[in-house]
Symmetry: C2
Subunit: 207 residues, 2 copies
């Protein structure tokens, strides 16, 4: 089982590394996926949205068919929806993957590749209206949502929750528990400021 995370200039750092940490920790357990690779248009160093420089493992041309593809969001996704190389890679891989998982505004890349039409989806709370405006997506304001083999999370950090649930669904709750314990992912529930008073706050924060 081969996993890939799709990256591009100005991809959001935690959108990438949250899921990466979960799947690579899973990958160290017995019977787990063979590996996870970072895939990009080229293997040149790539600058993420907040300035972290990373080196992709594989270019699109050198990437074998993936079993699972994770598509992070970030400022660069607004440009990449119009990048034929990225969108055709995503459409081609997405047509045979067991699962495609988007994080945050990665949902717009899935849509551009024809993977979201007629499906439930979500995205960063600040882009929910933009997702609704696409017209052919049912927007669900949960922490993450699944529609068949397509999974979408809310913004940035929500990719961690999405990936852990994906692991639980695929490999069982006990395996997800091992990943959660290894990464000590028992987060604080502290809420700073008044997020729920923000008019754009997603429904899952208000419930």
């Amino acid at each position: 089982m081969q996993l890939g995370i799709l990256v591009y200039p100005q991809v959001e750092e935690l959108d990438v590394v949250g899921p990466w940490e979960m799947v690579t920790t899973w990958g160290q357990l017995p019977g787990a996926p063979s590996s996870c690779r970072i895939v990009a248009e080229s293997t040149q160093p790539l600058l993420c949205a907040k300035g972290l420089s990373i080196n992709p493992d594989l270019s699109f041309g050198n990437c074998s068919p993936l079993d699972v593809l994770i598509v992070p969001g970030g400022q660069g996704s607004r440009r990449e929806v119009d990048n034929p190389a990225l969108i055709s890679f995503l459409a081609h891989q997405g047509s045979h993957c067991q699962a495609v998982l988007s994080v945050c505004t990665g949902a717009f890349l899935l849509h551009a590749a024809g993977l979201l039409s007629g499906r439930k989806a979500n995205t960063h709370w600040g882009s929910l209206d933009r997702l609704r405006a696409l017209g052919d997506v049912t927007v669900v304001e949960d922490r993450f949502t699944r529609d068949g083999r397509t999974w979408c999370s809310a913004g940035v950090s929500a990719g961690i929750d999405l990936t852990l649930r994906y692991i639980a669904t695929t490999a069982g709750e006990a395996v997800a528990g091992q990943v959660q314990l290894a990464t000590e992912y028992f987060p604080s529930v502290e809420c700073y400021g008044e997020a729920s008073a923000n008019p754009g706050a997603p429904n899952y924060l208000l419930g």
Copy 2:
């Protein structure tokens, strides 16, 4: 105000990028720190613990005095406690920083640099006994702990909670709230498997 994150071969990815996402998001708000840089012994590409390749911004020799230094953990920390270049950089910077924050087994690097003796500290649940064995540290099994200008978090993902609390303490709850909302850090509280049944589970999971 200049922040730095110290990295080394086999540093754990989320230990780095969790705090990075929080401080760089803070850095985009008015009146926030000027920047955060990734600092390493050399600026050559560096392989993290789970295989992600990153490019540090600065070498130790080119790093000006920092106001805040964040020290992630990871498998490589077991080797780096014996690296004089890293430990002397940390001791020197740590002697004048406003705050030094360790994540996970980064606490052992702080200790090797003389920054934890006689202080409260914590680390990844699986290394709590090793931290106790140092003899001159008071181990606190919370999500994170503070002792003066020294802050330590529990394992891996706990660096996010630590950094958000540091921002709240330094810049106010409202600013931390803006960072939390931008990164949509309202994590799921779902617990998979039976983490609390693990004999090594930290106290904050049992309470």
